[in-house]
């Protein structure tokens, strides 16, 4: 074990040792990896956009194991990187321990709240974006039954499902929402075969629009939906292009904007709680050439109206994580 730790330490030190100029921003990817076509990749593209626009450089590391979290944070902080951006709720504990030791360094954590004076916590109102795609699903559905397929059964994914169900019911109170989770282990994020089976099962129950919030599993959902001739909804980044004309829309989570913003603000940024919702374009629906034939004018109008209402605070979408319950969907 000690040998293992030494190896891990050595490899982390190697990875972090390269390039030690002062006050470069740093970005730490979660275990999903930099190119997950979704969450981490969005963070990477935000950082890249910042680098291209400013000519600056940033340092990055992809975690290989849980044990590296705190170590990576400390290494970056000690080498003078500032600000340090990390993606994923799993950094919460590690950052909580590390942040106080480096009061001069600014930290940005995405998808989690860490209450320290030098931490900016960025959270997304996924329920709001899911509400909007739920409205579109209900309008596109002819059978009055729509589906939701989640990845791993965690509160965050239930938050997606709950917002979606509320959006569906807002358009059609009699609509039925079938919600399934792929599993309870991290393998549930990468099981497209099971995603396909769940899709077929939901189609058998009458669903004709299915929203996938399931990482790699979603690839199977979108594929099967396209094969079987029903509509699907993508998540996190714009997935409309995967099956042009078969994907109704995608619920966008602009992690790239959050990372870009953090790097632009640089050291000395505003700390505290940063909510990215419909109001500040942190979440939204994807409209492009691939789905323009699927989205009718009234569909778009209703979504825009709801988005405006959510932004102004007139319409409140219930957040599953606020009380661990959902008015429109039972799990």
């Amino acid at each position: 074990m000690t040998l293992m730790t030494k190896f891990l330490g050595a490899s982390a030190a190697l990875a972090l040792g390269a390039g030690a100029a002062m006050a470069e921003p740093a970005l730490i990817f979660d275990l999903g990896g930099k190119f997950d076509k979704s969450f981490n990749e969005a963070a990477f593209s935000g950082a890249q956009r910042w680098a291209e626009e400013t000519g600056g450089e940033f340092r990055e590391i992809e975690l290989q194991s849980e044990a590296q979290r705190e170590q990576a944070l400390r290494r970056f902080a000690e080498s003078g990187a500032n600000p340090i951006v990390m993606t994923g709720f799993a950094f919460g504990d590690a950052l909580g321990q590390v942040a106080a030791d480096y009061p001069e360094t600014d930290f940005v954590i995405i998808d989690m709240v860490v209450d320290e004076p030098n931490v900016r916590s960025v959270v997304f109102n996924e329920h709001e974006g899911s509400y909007l795609v739920g409205m579109m699903a209900a309008q596109a559905s002819e059978s009055g039954t729509v589906g939701f397929i989640g990845g791993m059964d965690i509160p965050l994914i239930r938050k997606f499902a709950c917002g979606y169900a509320q959006g569906v019911k807002a358009i059609d109170p009699d609509a039925e929402v079938i919600a399934n989770m792929t599993g309870t282990t991290p393998a549930a994020w990468n099981d497209p075969v099971k995603g396909s089976e769940l899709t077929k099962a939901q189609i058998a129950q009458g669903a004709d629009v299915i929203y996938a919030a399931a990482g790699g599993t979603g690839v199977g959902v979108l594929q099967t939906a396209a094969d079987e001739g029903i509509l699907s909804i993508g998540v996190d980044s714009n997935q409309n292009h995967l099956h042009p004309g078969k994907v109704l829309t995608s619920m966008l989570k602009r992690v790239d904007n959050a990372v870009y913003q953090a790097m632009s603000d640089g050291p000395g940024m505003e700390k505290g709680f940063n909510v990215m919702g419909v109001a500040n374009e942190g979440v939204g629906v994807a409209m492009d050439d691939n789905n323009k034939d699927l989205v009718s004018a009234e569909m778009k109008a209703s979504v825009d109206e709801a988005a405006a209402k959510i932004a102004s605070g007139e319409l409140k979408v219930h957040d599953y994580m606020s009380d661990d319950s959902c008015p429109d969907l039972s799990f």
Partner: protein
């Protein structure tokens, strides 16, 4: 539950059971010859990747299938060299194969396709199409038998039929041919086989190679028949469930068929909580069904239902006496 739902459920069972069945038979050949193989998962994964990657590059699913089988065979060769020739620990070699496959697939995929460890979506001839058996259309309106034939038996990709045909074939090879007798003997008492002048090493390599081919079929089925492309770690533990099925089946081909169909049925039921609720009027958590294959395997291993006795020489490298 009406008849249509039942057919849908069984259809889903067949789809989910097929990769398990192929992997289970793969494990059966290997373990019957005395080579434990927990690298089924890794072989399936690498075959899934290479069949999807080559199918994507060439547009031909058959070339993809060939590449998948070759890649799986090469991992089998590594396992063979490590555990037969160099008499290494078979479990450790298997674990290494799983890690190797998990890492290598994503690395190569990223290098070739730059899509985050994924292959592009396969279209047209790069995918196995479903086969409609003769008279399926004509029989479809017939009550009971019609849907059974048209929806359940017909309408699967060719790999499904191959997988099911492999069951009697495996039985015949193992229990009705000279090769099969020797293969089983080498897993029970390799010294006796050696004394009879038959090569233990040769037989074990043959078994490991058959295992590689079958795992290759299973992997290709995942990525080019069930799915239209490779996603990292897409085998999602099916190799381990197949091992559980193998123990459940007590290393016998026909039992392997029933065991994998049963595990497939659990998987299918997991996707239909509404059916379970309608049948039992209980709200059963799907996760419970997902865990059942493992629970049942533990029960079998503990000796509550019959006794699962592995091949006697399993896991032991053969050292010729001097």
């Amino acid at each position: 539950m009406d008849y249509t739902t039942l057919i849908q459920l069984l259809d889903s069972t067949v789809r989910l059971a097929t990769p398990l069945l192929l992997a289970c038979l793969a494990g059966l050949f290997s373990e019957r010859a005395g080579i434990f193989d927990i690298g089924l998962e890794g072989k399936m994964l690498i075959a899934a990747f290479f069949s999807a990657a080559v199918a994507a590059l060439t547009g031909s699913v058959w070339l993809g299938l060939g590449a998948g089988i070759l890649s799986s065979l090469s991992l089998s060769a590594i396992h063979g060299v490590a555990s037969i020739t160099f008499r290494g620990n078979q479990l450790i070699s298997g674990v290494a194969i799983n890690f190797l496959a998990a890492g290598m697939t994503v690395l190569i995929a990223q290098d070739w396709f730059k899509q985050g460890g994924r292959t592009p979506s396969l279209m047209g001839g790069a995918r196995f199409e479903t086969i409609t058996l003769p008279w399926a259309e004509a029989l479809a309106p017939v009550p009971i038998i019609g849907p059974l034939y048209a929806d359940l038996i017909s309408g699967h990709p060719i790999l499904v039929y191959i997988a099911f045909a492999c069951v009697p074939l495996t039985w015949w090879i193992l229990f009705r041919t000279r090769f099969g007798l020797r293969l089983r003997a080498v897993g029970e008492n390799p010294a006796a086989v050696d004394t009879a002048g038959v090569s233990v090493v040769g037989l074990r390599y043959a078994a490991v190679a058959i295992c590689g081919v079958l795992c290759g079929l299973a992997g290709a089925y995942l990525s080019t028949a069930l799915q239209a492309g490779f996603v990292k770690d897409m085998s999602a533990g099916r190799g381990f469930i197949a091992l559980a099925a193998l123990i459940f089946a007590k290393w016998r081909p026909w039992y392997a068929l029933w065991a994998t169909l049963l595990f497939g049925l659990f998987g299918a039921l997991e996707t239909r909580p509404d059916v379970i609720e309608a049948l039992t009027s209980l709200k059963v958590q799907g996760q419970l069904l997902g865990a059942l294959p493992y629970v049942m395997t533990v029960i079998i291993l503990a000796g509550f239902v019959g006794k699962a006795i592995p091949p006697r020489a399993g896991g032991e490298p053969y050292v010729k006496e001097r």
